[in-house]
């Protein structure tokens, strides 16, 4: 950049071009973060949504003897995406369970609209360190759910907390976020209600 033989104008233009390339590069870097992000999360153990399984394991749970002297509090939390015209709530908001025992709770969903809508629940566990120790044996979140207009359903969840759950964790929260599926994702077409119309 600093060649004294060059006229100032030429040097200025050169420097400006180099700097503009940096700007373009950083703009690209922002977009490169989209694929890199999941990769980085996987490497560093940060939980991105794409990696979050909420213990969605269908394989058989190792049969460990329940530990009757230990109680763990499970809290249930539900969120419905604004684009999904549903009500969705846990039938019970907290239960005390013994690690190693199988429990069942019921979630209630109702389609507030009068047309058929398909949604999918995405689970997550807090603290996230507990995720691998929370096994769902049967869950409405394994499949997409379709409700016709006004339909009301009870959706069961059968789960078990592994006795291997680290000792420090005495309470954990299972959170469901119910998303609307677009027709392209296997949802059923119905009158368009987008986030923007609602907003």
């Amino acid at each position: 950049m600093h060649d004294p033989k060059l006229a100032t104008g030429t040097r200025n233009r050169r420097t400006a071009v180099v700097l503009s390339l940096v700007v373009v590069g950083m703009f690209g870097f922002g977009f490169a973060m989209v694929p890199l992000y999941d990769l980085i999360c996987k490497v560093t153990g940060v939980q991105s949504v794409a990696l979050r399984t909420g213990g969605e394991r269908s394989e058989a749970v190792p049969m460990v003897a329940p530990d009757p002297n230990r109680w763990v509090t499970i809290k249930f939390d539900t969120t419905v995406a604004p684009s999904l015209p549903w009500e969705f709530e846990a039938g019970i908001h907290r239960v005390e369970v013994v690690p190693g025992e199988i429990n069942e709770v019921v979630f209630l969903a109702r389609n507030r609209s009068n047309s058929q809508v398909t949604g999918q629940a995405i689970p997550s566990v807090v603290p996230w360190q507990a995720t691998p120790f929370f096994s769902k044996l049967e869950c409405f979140c394994f499949n997409k759910q379709t409700l016709v207009g006004g339909e009301r359903v009870e959706m069961p969840l059968r789960f078990m907390v592994s006795p291997d759950l680290p000792k420090g964790i005495e309470s954990l929260t299972l959170s469901y976020n119910f998303m609307k599926l677009k027709p392209s994702q296997g949802g059923v077409a119905e009158p368009k209600v987008t986030a923007n119309d609602q907003g």
């Binding site: 030429t10 922002g30 807090v126 986030a195």
Partner: protein, 531 residues
Amino acid sequence: MSTTTLTHDDAHHHETPTGWRRWLYSTNHKDIGTLYLLFALTMLFLGGASAMVIRAELFMPGIQLVDPDLYNNLVTNHALIMIFGAVMPAAAGLANWMIPMMIGAPDMALPRMNNLSFWILPAAATMLILSFVVPFFPGGGTQINTGWTLYPPLSIQVGMSMDFLIFAIHLLGASSILASINIIVTLLNMRAPGMKLMQMPMFCWTWLVTAFLLILVVPVLAGGVTMLLFDRHFGTSFFDAAGGGDPVLFQHLFWFFGHPEVYILLLPSIGVLSHVIPTFSRKPLFGYNSMVGAMLAVATIGMVVWAHHQYTVGMSLGAVTYFMIGTIIISIPVGLMIFNFIATMWRGAMTFETPMLFAIAIILMFTFGGLSGVMLAVVPADMQYHDSMFVVAHFHYVLMPGAVFGLFAGVFYWLPKWTGHMYDERLGKIFFWTNIVGFNITFFPQHFLGLAGMPRRIIDYNVMFTEFNVLSSFGAMIFGFSHLLLLYIVISTIRGGQKAKARAWEGADGLEWELDSPPTFHTWEVAPTIK
């Protein structure tokens, strides 16, 4: 002098263009600097007005003046106007005025681009203001209730005012990127023969680092809000979890910009202090080399600690530990800068003119804000403090002294140079005291509010927080109205006053003080020689 831009200037060399053409077509760094500063002053009052409404609403618990969405819209707009409309353009105004005069250059390196980077701003400000007012018109959609951080999913659901805002951010970003390129090119290529990089005045150094930070992080913000725009209108799901995206990704992109941005706001004011403190201590700046080193360290480490704004999103223990340690490490070079300032004053023949009063107040209050920053950097503590008024108190204690008051100091310090008149020192001091006292009454109680659990960005609060909020709002009235005095001082100094000498302050050192006050329209057409 063989460049096209310079030949163009040579054509109308000795007459100053007049009327609106002088300003609209200006390629003169002094005129553009003036435009930037006037623009920033206007925005300071707009942003201040929204802050006064916020504090008026918070005067009492309950909802009195505005509705919750409008309240959050005001909070959003206040932050964006102050950061992008007031502080950054004011700093750019100082850069335009001072850098060529300080390094002995006839003008900025790319004068026409300079014109463009200023004149984008009024358009951007219009967009920004529209994003605030559009919801009041029929069919205008909902208000921007996200705060300046624009987190999805909320920002995806906001009505069309968000599109105005995204466009405004693109324009503001383009303006500061162009200005930064210009400043870097000027500093690298246009220094007077013989002036080495390590001899540049410190203000130039701070701006060199600031400009590099800007071109590195503003494009990432631009990318982030572009993705937001795509998610809103073109069916992509960068941040929409329903479509496989991740809202936390936006937070990373935002804070990758957002944390370096705080240094972008801070550093030019550190540059001003590096001139004000030696001038009024009548000693050269202590530790020039360490100052440059500390600044480079702050900028480098500052690029990789962004996620201390996101401790609560559920990162792994390893990640939060890394971000915590990185953040705390930054306070070491920042502390070194403060140490250098104190050492510069040590046993100096100090006098206390308005710029110096601001400088001393900045050192005290900024250090205090840095301390609350270290508290926030500690993960388990931040789990409590996050999104509370404590954070609001922290960043006002660093940003007001660290950015705004530093710019005030610069304006008082260089006003005699720009206008040729001394400002009224008595009025300057009255402004200083009302401003500083008002500031502390406003923001000090917010530390306690935050620690006691009052959340930020919420219109209503528990009655147990009433007393401190009353106090804070009372201080805000003093603080807000004190700026009318600033306006008066600036206008009256432009219009007249005691004639300023070329070296307006007898302790001042540097090339800019060898020029007349006010300087002629073109300066340093023959580069000075550096001893």
